[in-house]
């Protein structure tokens, strides 16, 4: 049996969600230990995602959280963390490629309007006026002004660095395998190496892994894993800064040009829904070619840009495609922030703030109830 370490809060997962929770909790004076099964900080989706910081294109229950993040967290995050997160509120352009997909853009506009988020519908010509590189096959676009992007690597490691500066203890390369309920409260975390950590609050911020861990205290979340792939190109002259996405058949494709000058693009080949492996996220032969074709459909002018690196990651796909956030009331002491379904980066810092507030017994900045773990009910 290993040694027992105690803290006010034990966070499982060192990514943007876990590190943000640790940071904001430490800022409130709590002692925090962060555990990660991986040897590298934030080695899951936090370091593999596209870096979108968006309100548009989200499902309704998460819009308040995203809006709070974009309005109140991201604009000052670089100063807060003393690192350049490369956050730019440079807009988001969402393309349609068929006439049939245009109503989908209109629906996004309408849904967001209900939350005070303005989305502008553009004809293909108007889109090209905003950005001369937009391809001929585009039939229309939706523009959201308050969207943008940031550098996920620097933000995640910046959050880790800031948390560490505030005394958060990190232990990496040791997987949490069990949560133990002590006198009716989730208190203990047991690791694969036999170490034991005890805390008032146990936070599951480890993506798909949260499911198996929650299972050890009789709680389940309807998550599954999906592979997702991205690539980055050589740097080039600044062309456009806004985020890019699409609706319809091209809905999986997204990307933007980074401050460094390189372009990040993600997309689908079809295989990622049912990959033949389960452990390390590995690229699939057909996917980078598919992303290349998708990107060139958006912006033919990028055709000669050279791809220099591809990578894959797992997303924790929730049944209804938005995250489970907040306390698990059946098991006091247990909190969760997982199942982000590829929306975690933008929402990570605000989730951390929210959970720290809940742990401290304060009124949270955003109501987490619509995102609670027990929302899953039959649609019939």
């Amino acid at each position: 049996m290993g040694n027992i370490k105690c803290a006010d809060m034990i966070v499982i997962g060192s990514g943007i969600v876990g590190s943000s929770t640790a940071y904001y909790a430490a800022k409130k004076g709590m002692s925090v230990i962060v555990l990660d099964k991986d040897g590298v900080i934030g080695n899951g989706a936090s370091s593999r995602c596209g870096g979108g910081v968006r309100v548009s294109g989200r499902l309704e229950p998460e819009i308040p959280l995203a809006k709070y993040a974009v309005e109140n967290i991201w604009p000052t995050l670089s100063e807060e963390l003393e690192i350049d997160t490369e956050y730019h509120r440079s807009g988001n352009m969402r393309f349609a490629f068929t006439e049939e997909d245009l109503p989908k853009l209109a629906a996004i506009k309408e849904m967001n309007a209900g939350y005070g988020v303005n989305i502008e519908l553009l004809t293909a010509e108007q889109a090209r006026e905003r950005c001369p590189y937009v391809g001929e096959t585009v039939t229309g676009a939706a523009w959201c002004d308050i969207d943008g992007s940031a550098n996920p690597l620097k933000t995640t490691l910046g959050m880790y660095r800031a948390a560490r500066k505030r005394g958060v203890q990190y232990v990496t390369g040791d997987a949490a395998v069990e949560i133990q309920v002590v006198r009716g409260k989730a208190r203990r975390v047991i690791t694969a190496r036999g170490n034991i950590y005890e805390g008032e609050h146990i936070v599951l911020a480890n993506g798909y892994g949260a499911r198996a861990l929650a299972n050890t205290v009789g709680v389940d979340f309807p998550f599954r894993q999906k592979l997702i792939e991205m690539f980055v190109t050589e740097p080039t002259k600044p062309m456009f800064q806004f985020m890019v996405g699409a609706v319809g058949a091209a809905g999986g494709a997204y990307g933007h040009q980074t401050e460094h000058g390189s372009f990040l693009w993600g997309g689908d080949s079809g295989y990622e829904h049912h990959p033949i492996f389960e452990e390390d996220a590995k690229c699939i032969q057909q996917t980078a070619p598919a992303i290349s074709r998708g990107t060139m459909a958006f912006f033919p002018a990028l055709a000669e840009l050279k791809v220099i690196r591809t990578w894959a990651g797992w997303i924790d796909l929730c049944y209804d495609l938005y995250p489970v956030i907040g306390p698990v009331e059946e098991v006091p002491g247990l909190m969760v922030a997982a199942g982000y379904s590829a929306h975690g980066f933008c929402l990570g810092p605000v989730t951390g703030k929210l959970l720290a507030e809940v742990a401290a017994g304060e009124t949270p900045c955003v109501d987490w109830k619509p995102l609670a773990y027990d929302r899953f009910k039959s649609i019939f």
Binding site: I276, D280, K282, C283, I284, Q286, P289
Partner: protein, 529 residues
């Protein structure tokens, strides 16, 4: 469509080609991918004669071995796909390749990764200045493309690469200002060092580059002696006017493809995939061969290539168990011969070896200055039978795996024995005819024919010579000693060339007999233009 092969080989260097030939001869459907315009890997940059024994293609220049391998591959029906960049090694042993401006996907029942090695670098002030290059770059420029890397060059590194490339630079008509190394001992074969030193190139061991000078390109370099922590000692700086600094500071396995595929990696002179005795990695059917599995010489790479091919053939039922065992054992025997002696992997970095396997004291001068003193040489009583008349004098004093001298002499004058890392010995009472085959065939250029007394107060020395312009009989020049210092006037008696010498000239010079044991190189009166 995804094309399937029994075996996909990545890399058409010595390991990859040897693997492909062996596999094709076992009946496998094989394709070899290489990103270069020409196959052969580094072989076509290796213009020196290889070490080893006959079965390792010893005394043949790397370029010719490359040609032989290509001919064999063609005969065996191996499909060699050039200008083909392997993008990655994926699941299901998937190999994606860029060729003809498109991407093609392949899957191999077996995959052999034979991507070789890449050069290490050492950073110093100014190391990004144009004119600071890798030794491999120098070889590519001068030996493949006929372009001089620079006019005056400082070589960093005394491993075999640094020594061989220094010699090649001299052959290409460049000047080598010095060869330096931070280590206290010459890392490569003494014979390679000796052939550079005797042309007059100074060696500075325990020295490092302090700074490469120049704005848009290198104009000079400052070196300094280092202390035991490899830190420069102030006040020991030396400056050289050079236009090129060439780095030969070791090689690392290019194991990225195996890492990408998820093979278990271990540390073995750089990260290499863990492998079994057939080169098979932790992923069944994915093999490694050559430098990517651990840095060795090209001769070893060819054998590890064949072993991996046998492994793949065995795995997929292309070879009977009996035949597999027979061929595998032959390969292992051949490989073991090369893996003996003081330069073998287990001895890498050791500085406490003081004697040869035979018990002769190693030359410290050779290890620190690149050349032997006469006193040190005299202790190797096996190397000079001191006969009257013409006889071979061998200056090969380290246990390196090599025996062409024994093969070359049809008159039994030279003996190495069955263990090829033994030092050669001159057989007493044997009769040298002066044919010079030993001189021409010694890959280390370490054999000389000496007649200490021609009866007229002179001695003749026949030495291997691979420089231009070709000296002419009757011309006069200067005899240099082992350190490259001028010792006396020399007259060229004869210059022998022969197809079997493969461009090594046998230059016989006449010097006063007092210099018979000292004169080991010839410098023409006027420097070759």
């Amino acid at each position: 469509m995804i094309k399937h092969y029994d075996l996909i080989v990545v890399g058409a260097g010595p390991a990859g080609l040897s693997a492909a030939i062996k596999a094709a001869n076992c009946g496998m459907h094989v394709i070899v991918f290489d990103e270069n315009q020409r196959p052969g890997g580094q072989l076509f940059k290796q213009i020196h004669k290889f070490f080893g024994s006959k079965e390792h293609k010893a005394k043949i220049r790397g370029i010719r071995i490359g040609e032989e391998l290509l001919a064999e591959a063609e005969k065996a029906g191996v499909e060699v796909s050039l200008n083909s960049i392997v993008l990655g090694l994926y699941n299901l042993k998937g190999v994606s390749v860029m060729r003809n401006n498109q991407v093609e996907h392949f899957r191999g029942e077996n995959v052999i990764i034979a991507t070789g090695a890449s050069e290490n670098v050492v950073p110093f002030e100014g190391w990004t200045t144009p004119g600071v290059i890798g030794a491999g770059a120098a070889q590519t420029m001068m030996n493949l493309h006929g372009v001089m890397p620079g006019k005056r060059i400082l070589m960093v590194g005394t491993g075999n690469v640094g020594l061989v490339v220094s010699f090649q630079l001299l052959q290409a008509g460049c000047e080598v200002a010095a060869v330096i190394d931070a280590a206290p001992r010459v890392g490569g074969y003494g014979v390679h060092a000796a052939k550079v030193a005797r042309t007059g190139v100074p060696f500075y061991l325990s020295h490092t580059v302090v700074k490469a000078e120049g704005g848009d390109h290198v104009t000079g370099v400052t070196i300094a002696e280092v202390d035991s922590h490899f830190k420069p000692i102030p006040g020991t700086e030396k400056h050289f006017d050079v236009d090129t600094v060439c780095m030969a500071v070791g090689l690392s396995p290019m194991s990225q493809l195996t890492r990408m595929a998820g093979c278990k990696m271990i540390d073995n002179g750089g990260a290499v995939p863990e492998k079994n005795e057939y080169g098979e990695t932790s992923i069944p059917g994915v093999f490694v061969a050559g430098d990517v599995a651990g840095i060795e010489e090209a001769s070893s790479a060819m054998i590890t290539g064949r072993i991996a091919a046998l492994g793949a053939a065995g795995r997929s039922g292309f070879i009977s168990d009996a035949e597999f065992t027979k061929q595998y054992e032959a390969c292992v025997n051949s490989l073991n011969q090369l893996r003996q002696g003081m330069f073998c992997k287990a001895n890498k970095g050791r500085t406490d070896i003081l004697t040869t396997d035979e018990g002769y004291p190693l030359s410290m001068s050779l290890l620190t200055k690149g050349y032997m003193t006469e006193e040190e040489l005299a202790k190797f009583t096996n190397l000079n039978a001191h006969q009257t008349g013409v006889h071979p004098v061998i200056e090969c004093t380290q246990n390196i795996p090599c025996n062409p001298c024994q093969e070359a002499c049809k008159f039994g004058c030279i003996s190495v024995g069955t263990n090829i890392t033994n030092l050669p010995g001159v057989v007493a009472e044997s009769k040298c005819t002066g044919c010079g085959m030993c001189v021409a065939n010694c890959p280390g250029q370490a054999i000389f024919l000496v007649n200490e007394d021609t009866g007229d107060g002179f001695a003749t020395i026949t030495l291997p010579y691979e420089f231009l312009p070709t000296p002419q009989a009757g011309e006069k020049g200067t005899a240099l000693n082992r350190s490259g210092a001028a010792v006396c006037e020399a007259e060229v008696v004869s210059v022998r060339t022969n197809k079997s010498f493969d461009h090594t000239m046998l230059l016989t010079i006449k010097v006063p007999k007092a210099y018979a044991a000292e004169a080991r190189f010839y410098k023409p009166e006027k420097e070759g233009k």
